[in-house]
């Protein structure tokens, strides 16, 4: 996302951003695929078997990146929403609404893989661990954002209202995390928690970082693709969209 941020103001009008995004997508998508392949190779063939958990710990190589991405995307979403509200730029509002589905996907993936990793490690599909619980609440925030935006017809008001919700949400995420952590340690003690990740051999760390960057590139490609749809949708009355539709016929 930082890359898209640099030449941001030069391409801030949807009309000029549309072709740029179009050219970027193939590159970003192929980088994502390459990183994913290398990452998977590292995850399965290079990273050693963990002496405690055997092979089950390999779930970590998508669980942790997905959890990071879900939090990171929400913060970026709130950032774009804030820019949309402050500078009244339509494009940043569209970026915020394009980020939400991919963020929700990663949150669900983090929860799903967390449950599947929890079963072999502690014998329970769901553990009220502070981070897993916060991840679940983050999923509710994403669903709240998307349903508020879907419920309002006027696209301008929809992106501004959901933008404000994203900002209120991002302020609350740390508060929720610490209150859940407080609640978790009070009831269960710190015995079962994700803090003690298995000792990180260097190859494990590289595998995880590779997967994280692969997810990141995937997110950028997906968001750029979706924002192009948003632009076409919202600018359908403008001449350049009409011309573009003519060309395609």
């Amino acid at each position: 996302m930082a890359f898209a941020g640099i030449n941001w103001f030069k391409y801030s009008s949807p009309a000029s951003f549309y072709p740029v995004a179009g050219k970027m997508i193939p590159w970003v998508a192929s980088v994502a695929v390459i990183l994913a392949v290398i990452g998977l190779y590292f995850s399965f063939f290079v990273a050693p078997t963990d002496y405690q958990q055997g092979e089950a710990y390999r779930i970590m190589f998508i669980h942790v990146p997905a959890a990071w991405m879900s939090m990171f995307i929400y913060v970026v979403m709130a950032g774009y929403a804030a820019m949309g509200l402050i500078f009244n730029t339509r494009l940043s509002a569209m970026m915020a609404s394009s980020l939400a589905p991919t963020g929700a996907l990663f949150t669900f993936v983090a929860l799903w893989t967390g449950a599947l990793w929890g079963k072999p490690m502690w014998g329970a599909w769901w553990v009220w661990d502070a981070r897993l619980t916060t991840e679940l609440i983050l999923l509710f925030l994403y669903i709240g954002f998307m349903s508020l935006e879907a419920a309002i017809d006027d696209p301008r008001r929809a992106s501004r209202s959901s933008g404000l919700l994203a900002i209120v949400g991002v302020v609350n995420v740390p508060i929720i995390y610490f209150s859940v952590k407080w609640w978790n340690t009070l009831h269960q003690g710190a015995s079962i928690s994700f803090d003690k990740a298995p000792s990180m051999a260097s190859t494990m760390l590289t595998a995880m970082l590779l997967m994280t960057f692969a997810f990141w590139m995937y997110t950028i490609a997906m968001v750029l693709y979706r924002v192009r749809c948003e632009i076409l949708e919202r600018e359908r009355h403008s001449e350049w969209v009409m011309a573009l539709v003519e060309e395609r016929k």
Binding site: N88, D153, D154, P155, R156, R234, R236, H237
Partner: protein, 206 residues
């Protein structure tokens, strides 16, 4: 002095109007004309600062109304389609609370006199929900007798009024204009209001 420069509005993804501009000095009357749905109400609400213009600016004594928000709102009265009255409150309570929120404390006798001025004697302390639509309209218009705000923005003020009320509203508007006030209004009825300067803004159908 109110100035609108190159205003444009978008509703949903439909462009309502664009390039709307005018300037209004003391004593000016501005008619906003246009077919239904051409954005008359949106323009009026934009002039009140309720709607953020897609393009263009609105200046009140050379300052953008969004930076000089408090000063501008103190000198403005807006009456929309809705009467802005609470059904469970009496006409008197409604009037005094609305004026208090606009920053002008009104004593009970003055509010009573204003209500009688619009022909509501005997109805002042009844809950508004028992009043007819015309009477409710007059309670809303009673505010014009109390406010010191120079700029009046009225959306279809003559609807649901009987002949006598139309007449008294017409004279009140004319007195206000003579005292150097400004009025912006939309109306369907053909009502001749005498004013030093009469301006028009026609919102073309897009």
């Amino acid at each position: 002095m109110l100035e609108a420069i190159n205003l444009a509005a978008v509703r949903g993804d439909r462009r309502l109007f664009a390039g709307v501009g005018f300037s209004l000095q003391g004593g000016d009357l501005l008619y906003v004309q246009g077919a239904n749905g051409s954005g008359k109400t949106t323009l009026l609400r934009m002039l009140c600062g309720l709607v953020i213009p897609e393009e263009g600016k609105i200046l009140w004594s050379q300052e953008d109304i969004r930076s000089e928000r408090e000063a501008y709102l103190q000198s403005l009265v807006y009456l929309g389609h809705l009467c802005a009255l609470k059904d469970d409150l009496t006409g008197l309570e409604n009037l005094r609370i609305t004026e208090a929120l606009a920053g002008e404390e009104i004593s009970e006798p003055r509010a009573m006199a204003a209500l009688q001025g619009v022909g509501l004697n005997g109805y002042e302390d009844l809950p508004v929900r028992v009043l007819s639509q015309g009477q409710r309209r007059r309670v809303a218009l009673a505010r014009l007798a109390l406010t010191q705000a120079p700029l009046w923005i009225l959306d279809e003020p003559f609807t649901a009024l009987d002949k006598a009320s139309v007449g008294s509203l017409k004279t009140r508007l004319e007195d206000h204009l003579e005292d150097g006030g400004m009025v912006i209004l939309t109306t369907h009825q053909e009502i001749e209001i005498k004013a030093a300067v009469i301006k028009q803004v026609a919102l073309a159908e897009y």
